[in-house]
């Protein structure tokens, strides 16, 4: 199989249950390198859980995750499927950047320290190298002047851009955005979208969970509508948003948002 055809990420039959609730119900998904995938859907539909499962922050109950063709995250020992060694899990996470709704910046480190942390601690780069990478990433998200302040002094939009820089500093092959703008004031959403847009233009593979349809329409190569742990519909933005007439559920969801 040649690398152009091989999907960067392939999910087969992903199922995640929380007690009685099946959050993700046997989902299959292929993401090609460079693809921009947007997942929409009502809250509680399993979007975030799916995203977190890719990054192994959730332990899935069934299914396989293949990253660059290799099965990742789980091994079968004595007939039982269980999480892989911690080092293997960390290695996969290091290749997949993740941005959270609530930023989760490290409050005790400066902005520069936050961005340096991955290269420094995980990749064991020298302090000088890590600093150079961090400075580069901060200028990419337009926050060079905030280098030496603590996260507490930043606005929400700035925090999220630092969080993006922090993920990018690991040079990930793919980025996951979990509702990156949902915790922001409306006037701050634009700066974060612009940053993600720049990243998309550079060819970064990304999966974005969002409630902003305008953004989905503008950025996505493919949009997936998810509900009740299943993919209800998927296609290009044009296809999905024109299907509005066909599917009652999607139509009512979109009408509420738009």
């Amino acid at each position: 199989m040649n690398s152009a055809e091989q999907p960067l990420l392939k999910l087969e039959n992903i199922t995640k249950r929380f007690k009685d609730l099946t959050a993700v119900n046997g989902v299959n998904l292929e993401v090609a390198a460079g693809e921009k995938l947007v997942i929409i859907g009502p809250s509680g539909s399993g979007k975030s859980t799916l995203l977190r499962s890719i990054n192994l922050l959730e332990v899935i109950d069934e299914g396989t995750i293949r990253f660059e063709g290799c099965e990742a995250g789980y091994v079968t020992r004595r007939g039982k499927r269980q999480p892989d060694r911690p080092e293997a899990i960390s290695a996969l996470r290091a290749e997949i950047g993740m941005v959270f709704q609530h930023f989760h910046l490290f409050p005790h480190m400066t902005v520069l320290g936050n961005v340096m942390e991955g290269p420094l601690t995980v990749q064991r780069k020298s302090c000088d190298q890590a600093r150079l990478i961090a400075i580069d990433m901060l200028s990419k998200v337009g926050l060079s002047d905030k280098r030496d302040v603590f996260p507490a002094t930043l606005s929400g939009g700035q925090k999220q851009r630092v969080a993006i820089a922090r993920a990018l500093a690991m040079r990930p092959k793919m980025m996951l955005f979990d509702e990156p703008t949902s915790a922001l004031d409306p006037e701050l959403v634009g700066e974060v979208f612009d940053t993600i847009h720049t990243l998309a233009d550079e060819g970064m593979t990304m999966i974005i969970v969002t409630h902003h349809m305008g953004f989905a329409r503008e950025l996505a190569d493919r949009v997936i509508f998810m509900e009740g742990g299943n993919f209800l519909a998927q296609g290009t933005p044009e296809e999905l948003f024109s299907k509005v007439q066909d599917n009652e559920r999607i139509r009512s969801f979109l009408n509420r948002l738009l």
């Binding site: 911690p86 960390s90 996470r93 993740m98 989760h104 409050p107 005790h108 603590f150 002094t153």
Partner: protein, 336 residues
């Protein structure tokens, strides 16, 4: 034969004299009892009169009753604020027995009474400070040693408690259960007096540091666990998301954020520790409490205890300020 009879006569005479002196002592006992009764009834003059009846002993004669009577008289005078008469009574004793320490100490104390109050306190302070200072140095040493040992122990216990390894978590739970659930005094006794029977003999200082260290590790363990678990779960996820291992995330991200939250309760613990070191005085270690206690028992002087209280307050005050400073520093990143 005549010689033997003479020997027997001498022995008999000696026995007779011995019996006589015993009878005499019995008389005095009765007299003391009567004077005590009179004192209890409030008739101090009567009591003094009886005590005066005890004659000064001839040289070589038994002296206990005489000394006791005069000292008792001196105490009665002293209680009536008749300091001069009290001193006179003591000096009656001293004239015959210049080395009698009870009378000398009492005269010294009575003479102090005649001086103005602040003068006495000052003199006592000067007299007691060297011994109390030495005790305080031991207390501080003990506190510092425990402060170095217990946070390390506490951190290990805390990490063990939240470990996914069942055995480790169970062991740490048990450790806390035991050391928090039994009195510190008992633990100290066990380590110092109990372990030697198992073949382990420790110096008082070592026993004290081990006892306090274990006890405070248990308490700090729970405090540190609470602080770790109070850090937003998102921090751990964010750390993991950039590829950190659990250990790296703990060391670099989670634990540094607990410092500010830890300072108030840990400061509390360490101030309690300063005072808990007083318990160590029971295992033969001369620290501040023990030093003050010894002075008090020697001089019957409450100034020794008051000074110890002041020294404890000075120590706790210094620690309070240091901890406030550290807390401010540890949380500086939260300021906007």
């Amino acid at each position: 034969m005549k010689y033997v009879v003479g020997r027997v006569f001498v022995v008999l005479l000696f026995l007779l004299l011995l019996a006589g002196s015993c009878f005499g002592a019995v008389d005095y006992d009765q007299l003391f009892r009567q004077s005590s009764d009179l004192m209890a009834q409030g008739d101090l003059e009567g009591a003094l009169g009886l005590l005066r009846q005890v004659p000064a002993p001839a040289p070589g004669e038994e002296s206990g009753a005489f000394v006791s009577s005069r000292m008792q008289a001196a105490r009665i005078y002293a209680s009536q604020d008749a300091t001069d008469k009290a001193i006179a009574a003591c000096q009656e004793v001293l004239r015959l027995f210049p080395e009698n320490s009870e009378a000398r100490n009492f005269v010294a104390a009575l003479k102090d009474r005649l001086k103005p109050g602040w003068h006495t306190v000052l003199a006592d302070t000067v007299r007691f400070l060297p011994a109390l200072g030495k005790g305080a140095v031991m207390t501080v040493l003990l506190v510092l040693c425990t402060m170095m040992v217990s946070p390390v122990g506490g951190m290990l216990i805390a990490l063990g408690r939240i470990s996914t390894l069942r055995t480790v978590a169970w062991f740490c739970w048990f450790f806390i259960w035991f050391f928090r659930g039994t009195p510190l005094l008992l633990q100290l006794f066990f380590i110092y007096y109990g372990l030697p029977s198992l073949g382990v003999t420790l110096s008082p200082m070592t026993a004290a540091v081990i006892g306090l260290g274990l006890n405070y590790s248990a308490y700090l363990g729970e405090i540190i666990r609470g602080a770790i678990q109070s850090i937003d779960h998102g921090q751990m996820e964010a750390a993991k998301a950039i590829g950190m291992s659990y250990g790296q995330a703990m060391r670099r991200i989670i634990i540094p954020q607990t410092y500010k939250r830890l300072m108030p309760p840990v400061g509390n613990e360490f101030i309690a520790l300063i005072k808990d070191t007083a318990l160590v005085s029971t295992i033969a270690m001369v620290e501040l409490m023990r030093a003050a206690d010894q002075l008090f028992n020697t001089y019957f002087n409450i100034t020794a205890l008051a000074l110890a209280a002041v020294i404890y307050l000075v120590l706790t005050t210094i620690f309070t300020f240091i901890f406030e400073k550290i807390e401010y520093r540890a949380g500086i990143y939260e300021q906007r």
